[in-house]
Symmetry: C2
Subunit: 193 residues, 2 copies
Amino acid sequence: MARDKDFIPEEKIAKALDVFWQKGYNATSMQDLVDAMQINRSSLYNSFGDKHNLFLECLRTYGYLAAQDFESVLKLKDLSPLEMLEKIIDVYVEGTVYDCKCCMGIKSSFELAGDDEEVRRIIKQASDRTIGLFTDLLRRAKEQGEIAEDKNPAVLAHIIFNGFCGWKQSYIQFKDASLIEEMATYTKKHLRN
Amino acid sequence: MARDKDFIPEEKIAKALDVFWQKGYNATSMQDLVDAMQINRSSLYNSFGDKHNLFLECLRTYGYLAAQDFESVLKLKDLSPLEMLEKIIDVYVEGTVYDCKCCMGIKSSFELAGDDEEVRRIIKQASDRTIGLFTDLLRRAKEQGEIAEDKNPAVLAHIIFNGFCGWKQSYIQFKDASLIEEMATYTKKHLRN
DNA sequence: TTTATTTTGGAATGATCGTTTCAGAATGTA
DNA sequence: TACATTCTGAAACGATCATTCCAAAATAAA
């Protein structure tokens, strides 16, 4: 009974996501968002609620995309479970070194997850999904004898996932790509023995 | 020729550090600092410059204290190099689980170090000092045959140090102390073989 | 075409931001 | 005691913050 929006919400969320991703929550102003999304202030509030709500929406989108990114490796045929996991690690290293934008989940976790329960919940959900994927691959690797019998897939999955966090931080600080690669190589080597 | 300050600067820096540590840079207002430091606005600006400068001072203090904290383990006698490193890991795990306040270096790194060169420099300096300590311990452990000949002390030191980052993040998200302990155990086990 | 409903643009809100100003109190030195 | 200098307290600064409001433009359905 009334006119439609002049924009596609998903596209605007993607624009906002870019800004939040780069600057973080607190350092991003509504003016930044209005500029980046190329949308009127009223439309922004009308469609997405306030800043906090918009951020949550962006974080959900990010979590969804990031998890999908990890899972895309599963589609590669002719790879054993362990090889898939190694491929995932390689892809992540590439992303860490190539794109200076740090993982938004990690960044938001340190900035907000301590105080903001909803933020924590969203990040945890995305983490759970990815750690679950890793655990599954490791369990299958164990069944096929690719990794030792005494390894605990769940703990190992957490360690790999958490290693990612450190690699990002290391790269921010040292800007040393080969160091990240060496750490990844070390991690992969210790999966096998 | 004129009156002295009514306060001890180091004490006020410590108060400010607490606030920045907990809330992060952007989420901390000058009003928060005035309240916490129990100091007049003018005195604050007069003694410490602006917000950014005060933050840098706090970060330097933090880095100094954190590095000292790691080094305090060196004073323990009757410990081999590898045992010292294991002790350091244990102490860090305890700190991670006991004190919900995340490492300020890591937090600031993700919030600011990407854009703020001075912040990056300060954090890097503290990291270098601690990673240097770890490297040294690992080198001595290698000399004494505590760790395998094919290990690279420098890379291993980075891996341990970076693992810390992930543990913090994991604890923020999962609040699972035993998970952190298991990850630490795994790390220590893989130092030896 | 009319009507009901929504979007849109832009101005305006009060709150809070980091910072400055300034008069007066305080105090070390001469 | 007198002077020079610094610190202190409180108010005030302009800028920016997130958010709201309202009238006008737009348009889907009746």
